[in-house]
């Protein structure tokens, strides 16, 4: 029984191989001559480069202390040496006028608002960051300087771009 079953299986295999040979007489020869060409990319070095890039970008992002985002419509003045900006109250010159921390502010209210903000942050040093277009005249900037003088603010930080990083 077992012998006959094995014989039958052998016959089937012989038939399969003969069919294969009829269908493609060159196939057997081709299989024998085929060389294994390797097209493997050296991925390890690529992964290394990517990892270094990712680490650099991550380190750059996390050590970045800037709190002020440059307004797209404002061309900041260019200076040769600028210190980094820390946290503070931002006063921006917009097309409509001046804005204190993003909210439009009237000139007659400015002194009171600055005084209030200064009182709120009594424990810490009050930083007033002025962000204005480089083409405005001093006449337009003057109300801010006067108002801050009246509010008792002793220094300002004028936002600027360091030379070489022109916007």
């Amino acid at each position: 029984m077992l012998h006959s079953h094995l014989l039958e299986q052998k016959n089937i295999e012989t038939m399969k191989s003969s069919i294969c040979d009829i269908g493609s007489p060159m196939m057997g020869a081709y299989h024998k001559e085929k060389k294994h060409l390797s097209f493997d990319l050296l991925l390890t070095s690529l992964v290394d480069a990517f990892a270094i890039l990712a680490i650099f970008l991550l380190a750059n992002t996390t050590s970045y202390q800037q709190e002020v985002e440059a307004d797209q419509n404002i061309q900041l003045p260019v200076v040769t040496s600028a210190a980094s900006i820390s946290e503070g109250t931002l006063i921006t010159r917009t097309a409509q006028g001046w804005a204190l921390d993003g909210k439009p502010v009237a000139m007659d209210e400015l002194v009171a608002k600055l005084k209030e903000l200064k009182e709120q942050g009594k424990e810490t040093e009050f930083n007033l960051i002025v962000q204005a277009d480089k083409n405005i005249s001093y006449e337009e900037l003057n109300p801010i300087i006067l108002a801050s003088a009246h509010a008792g603010i002793e220094s300002f930080k004028f936002a600027a771009v360091e030379e070489g990083e022109k916007k």
């Binding site: 990712a54 992002t61 005249s137 300002f156 600027a160």
Partner: protein, 144 residues
């Protein structure tokens, strides 16, 4: 007899590369390439100390033609100089030279007051203040 199966220990790096490239794209898109810096300027009005002897101060007046007039206040030797504008802009090179000379000649010269004209552009004012600050001078601004 069954053949022993071959076990591949190769790491599949493709998903790893995918993940890293997505990470890099995200970081590059979110990175801020223009760093905003600042110039710290003192208020020119008030805040004077009650010292017995006033310290020398450079008075820097920028006129409407962008000429810079320099004078010394509270100094032993008086000084006055005008730095003519160059192509309608303040001549920063000459200003730097004059300030360096003044600093070397005058003792305790550590402050400067900038008085721009009402028509002076913000950029010109900042450039002048930048030159003064680079000469280790504390700068104050005077309102109109």
């Amino acid at each position: 007899m069954k053949k022993k199966k071959e076990i591949s220990f190769d790491l599949n790096l493709i998903p790893f590369i995918d993940m890293l490239s997505v990470c890099i794209f995200f970081l590059m898109l979110t990175a801020v390439w223009i760093q905003v810096g600042s110039l710290e300027i003192k208020q020119g009005l008030g805040g004077q100390t009650e010292d017995n002897k006033p310290t020398p101060t450079i008075l820097t007046y920028i006129n409407s033609q962008s000429d810079i007039e320099l004078s010394l206040k509270d100094a032993d030797a008086p000084h006055k100089a005008t730095i003519k504008a160059h192509n309608g802009k303040p001549n920063l090179k000459n200003l730097k030279l004059s300030v360096t000379q003044l600093v070397s000649k005058t003792q305790n010269l550590k402050t400067a007051l900038v008085m721009p004209d009402q028509k002076t552009s913000y950029q010109d004012m900042m450039s002048v203040m930048d030159v003064l600050r680079k000469s280790q001078i504390s700068v104050g601004i005077v309102p109109l």
